[in-house]
Amino acid sequence: MVLFIFRNLKVIYGSLIIYLIFLPALALFFLFSLVPMMYCFLEGLKPTSLSLYGYILRSRLFRDLLFTIGVGMLTATLSFVLSIPISSLLRKNVRGKSIIQALLFFPLVVPELIAGYSIWLTLMPHGLLYNLFRITLNLSLPPLPDWLKLIVACTWKYFPMMTLMVAAGMEAIDPDLELAARSVGASPLRTFFAITLPLLIPSLISGYTLVFLRAAGQFSITLVIGGARLTTIPIDIWYQYQLANMKLSYVLATMFTFVMVALVILFTRALRGMYRG
């Protein structure tokens, strides 16, 4: 035994060093990122807080949950619709390709808070955009409701994630497939729906998941656009926490996370089903 340890001392010593290198990173991440995440769930799943789930389902918080999911889905769908023409543009070797790519990367580096604020400023009644419509087209647009502003802002911030995914997916499609469809007399539209779109499903799955999670789970854009009036679930979690209703905020956080995971699994399944069918 002792001999075995002695012989393998170098190996043991080596792996010990490896663990020592890992230790600070693990400690930092576990203590200040993972434990806080888990803490919410542990509190939210305690037997004493289970009655609050029933309360949430019966109160206006349930409506907020549906609203939040709606915001996420609308943003993801809108991003996908926007992504199709942009990525087909990127697929062709047009001259300004790098400029278009730079434009796509731009919203990604803009902080959410600023994205929300600049969209709020843009869509402000009596702001420059409304004024522009009034002066040039003599058109006075009605003020947009807050939820629509929220969706515009989320789409502005997150559509590039979808577009980059869809563009990568389109890059991988063999153009001969589409040409073959065109050569047997299919219209461009029919070719798109019968050939291109089904081949894009895998990138649609990852893009939809990513954008949905971001848009439904984001906090700062909603806070800037609607204050505490535009109640999505992240705002509710924050608001209840501010009111020192800790339990309710942990339960909301737990429930919300589980609903999001369930929905992502559902989307993936549904879209895969479309791919096969």
Binding site: I18, I21, F22, P24, A25, L28, F29, F32, S33, L34, V35, P36, M37, Y39, C40, P85, I86, L89, K92, V94, G96, Q101, A102, F105, F106, L108, V109, V110, P111, L113, I114, Y117, S118, I119, L121, T122, H126, L128, L129, N131, L132, I135, W156, M161, L210, L213, A216, G217, Q218, F219, S220, V224, P234, I237, W238, M246, S249, A253, T257, M260
Partner: protein, 269 residues
Amino acid sequence: MDSPRIRALSVCLAVLLALFVLFPIMILFLYSISGRWNYPNLLPSSYTLGWYVYLFKYEGGLSSLLLSLEVALLSTLLSVTVGVPVSYLLARRGIKGRSALEAIFLMRLVIPVIVIAVGTATIFMRLGLYDTFLGLILAHAANGLPYVIWTAEAAFESVDPVLEEAGRSVGASPLTTFLRITLPLALPGIIAGSIFMFLYSLDEFTVTLLISGVKYITLPLRLYSVLEFGYIEPAAATAILLLIPSIIYLVIVLKFMRPEVMQAGFGRL
């Protein structure tokens, strides 16, 4: 060959995209430099840099800017020192940490930021880290660590192991090989990851909002408190101030970085 109609359509599309992406930020910029801007006028009738001065003089903008830079610098230093060795081991030694790392990334993607923020605030209250400088640094470093590890791992992986073996075969020690061959080759990626971490810390809002009270107000928190009062022009000036580093980063990345490194950072933004 495209028909002229398709070409015209493409140009239209590109212009629309540019308008959609750039128009809101242009408006933000216009507000930050507008002097007088009365309603019926389309554009401001005079321009001024006074809002930036106002921000620094009366709204505590300077102290917030300095605090934000300090926190970003220190948390980046912490997470890079702690994270880069780990990413080297993950890339080279075939340690079974890759799938765990991916799982953690996936978890961070699924769990909303506000959940992390509420949990962090609760824990920090118990540990006595609430509204402290140390608390800010630790929270930022811990939450940004996966980004650093991810980009650095991609950078180390792009270094050909054959080059390291060549170094070893002519008698260099593992440490020399690492310092003279591997590290210089992986450095661009590591720098990209570090800048990315720096920006994450600079822009971090949600967690910071919940773990800091009155003493430590970073620039994003200042922006929020100014815009909450409805001061549009100073808020726009703060936003532009916060935006400058992000734009510099974008330019650097688009000019100098390889696409793989870029994807590693942007895909997980």
